[in-house]
């Protein structure tokens, strides 16, 4: 392949993987605290429409992203109220949140259905963007791409190198013990869920303001569900989440390049379209085939409600 082509494939891979990384990192933190929020698809939709609306009214993508984040947090607070405070079944509440979010975004988005945004120019990093091949692919990206990398490092550092990260994991493993030594399990779970909502909101904002600068109903198109799956297949490890997201994005983009090359390959296009899912699952299953590490990384009390005085 020509260097230009490699660069184009890598560039598109990073773009396609970014909304997945953002959303999956948020979900990872939520799940590490023992909360299973299956509402990512709905939260992303609401984040996308909020970000789009604010951007179109203010002209500021930054305010748009903030709006997406706040909308995502609001959605997760709603989830928290139902699943944490009222202790409804987390799986059911999460699914309901997904359906609700997709519908709500369609409703709120009606007046914006016909509108489009100017595409936001990428943020070039001086010097680094001059590196041949990689420079364009990695350092001439939208600001949110760099944010996703920073968040990745921040989440990894927070979870495994800070005291509060340890507390969060303790809450996810044995909430009873965390409670016994004086931590407010409910509050920590709320905060973790809100972080997850904020990240999914930003993921949605990336779609509607940066990726395809438009709002249409259903534009998240399953990326929330893929993010949820990534967390599990990445065995709750931040770096593997990134690997999985780029693998997924990369396989999707590569198969498109193969189709668009005009080469007469005898591979069914349906197979090529399924390839991103297959490749991601196979690779992540291979690297995490050790059962004990899965047990070690998966939060023991995932999805179980906690009642302080029970």
């Amino acid at each position: 392949m020509a260097p230009g082509l490699v660069s184009a494939v890598l560039f598109a891979t990073v773009v396609a993987g970014t909304p997945l990384i953002l959303t999956a990192l948020g979900e990872l933190v939520t799940e590490k605290s023992g909360v299973l929020n299956l509402g990512a698809e709905g939260i992303m939709s609401v984040g996308a429409v909020a970000a789009f609306a604010v951007t179109i009214h203010t002209g500021s993508p930054l305010l748009g992203v903030l709006a997406g984040m706040v909308a995502g947090m609001a959605m997760s607070v709603l989830f928290g109220f139902v699943a944490l405070t009222l202790q409804a079944n987390q799986v059911a509440s999460g699914l309901a949140l997904s359906i609700f979010g997709v519908g709500l975004s369609a409703f709120v988005g009606k007046p914006y259905e016909s509108q489009t945004l100017e595409s936001v120019p990428p943020l070039k990093i001086p010097l680094l963007s001059k590196i041949p091949v990689l420079g364009h692919a990695l350092f001439e990206q939208q600001a949110l791409v760099y944010v996703s990398w920073i968040m990745l490092l921040a989440v990894a550092w927070f979870l495994y190198r800070t005291r509060w990260g340890l507390v969060l994991r303790a809450v996810g493993e044995t909430p009873v013990a965390a409670h016994a030594i004086g931590y407010n399990v409910l509050r920590i779970r709320y905060l973790a869920a809100m972080f997850g909502g904020a990240m999914a909101g930003i993921g949605g904002a990336f779609l509607s303001v940066f990726y395809t600068p438009l709002w249409v109903e259903g534009m998240v198109a399953g990326r929330g569900w893929i993010s949820l799956a990534l967390v599990v297949f990445a065995t709750w490890r931040p770096l593997r989440v990134m690997l999985g997201a780029y693998l997924f994005g990369g396989a999707m983009i590569t198969q498109m390049f193969v189709q668009g090359s005009g080469l007469r390959l005898d591979i069914p296009a349906q197979f090529l379209s399924a390839l991103p899912y297959l490749a991601t699952v196979v690779v992540l299953v291979l690297i995490s085939r050790n059962r004990s590490t899965i047990r070690l990384n998966s939060p023991a009390s995932l999805g179980q409600p906690f009642m302080p005085d029970a």
Partner: protein, 365 residues
Amino acid sequence: MQRLKSSITLLGLGLLAASPLAAADPAPTQVGFVYVSPVGDAGWTYQHDQGRKEMEKALAGKVTTKFVENVPEGADAERVVRQMITGGAKIVFTTSFGYMNATEKVAVAFPNNFFFHATGYKTGKNMGIYNARFYEGRYLCGVIAGKMTKSHIAGYVAAFPIPEVLQGINAFTEGMRSVDPKAEVRVIWVNSWFDPGKEREAALTLISQGADMITHHTDSTAVVQAVEEKHKENANLYSFSYHSDMSKYGPKSCLTGTTHLWGDFYTRVVKEVMAGTWKGTNVWGGMKDGMIKLAPLNAAVPAPVKTLVVKLEKEIIAGKLHPFDGPVIAQDGKELVPKGKSMTDAELGGMNYYVKGVASTLPKN
């Protein structure tokens, strides 16, 4: 409340039918529409909804319409169609292929109502079908593409390899190669009717591999928008829209588009049913019937090309030109239609191959 209303309506209908004055019934006929996606601002369902509005306007005072959008194909559709009938609808249009069996079932159960199903093939005593010859518009878009391309490569973002989509790809290719024999068409299947992100990536992929004429057979406006964005870097990069006129998403780069116009057809059949003259519908209408039209040409299309397109359009309408006039050669070199003949409707309906000039491999089922 809804149920109460509908039982009152049914009661009313019963009384009307019993009275001798029923023939002079001034109550408007209710017409229902079932849509597969949200109406939105452009696309397949939007065009059907425009048709509904036109019909309502043309028959003002005589009809009332209602629609249900975003109805999944399958069991849900049957429920929605039944509800429409029990809610008082006399005529129901179901506007997606996957509603076929549901429509047929309800049509059998309600022999005094009338049903019309778009793009399907099952008819009945009170069930008609309709479709449009989208490929006629595709052919003309192909001609413009052939005249305007510099790279001799066109890119096509497609959803699923079904006959209707293949007719479009092949007609576009035939049109393009009728004026530029060197041209090739590359296809990316995204295996989804609607995923703006994927559609956009596919368009960008085709552009980065040299295609300068881009079109799509998917439901969003993402492809047209992506081309508009990249048009800033390559002034000879253009798009052709589908379903709707999407020029407002690509004011500089969208040259034209194949648009669907259902209004006249809806008005016609509803009138027939109301007058009691309806005798079955199996319509596959094209430019001649006003069901397919090109969107207004962009100012970037040079005058001679415009003249050519107008001329060809007239020939299609007059029946002198068929996009699949022989010789039609398959991708593997086999002659499908000999010179002097045109492809028949049955052959078109069963299309499952690429013609020569399509560079990609057709996914097998």
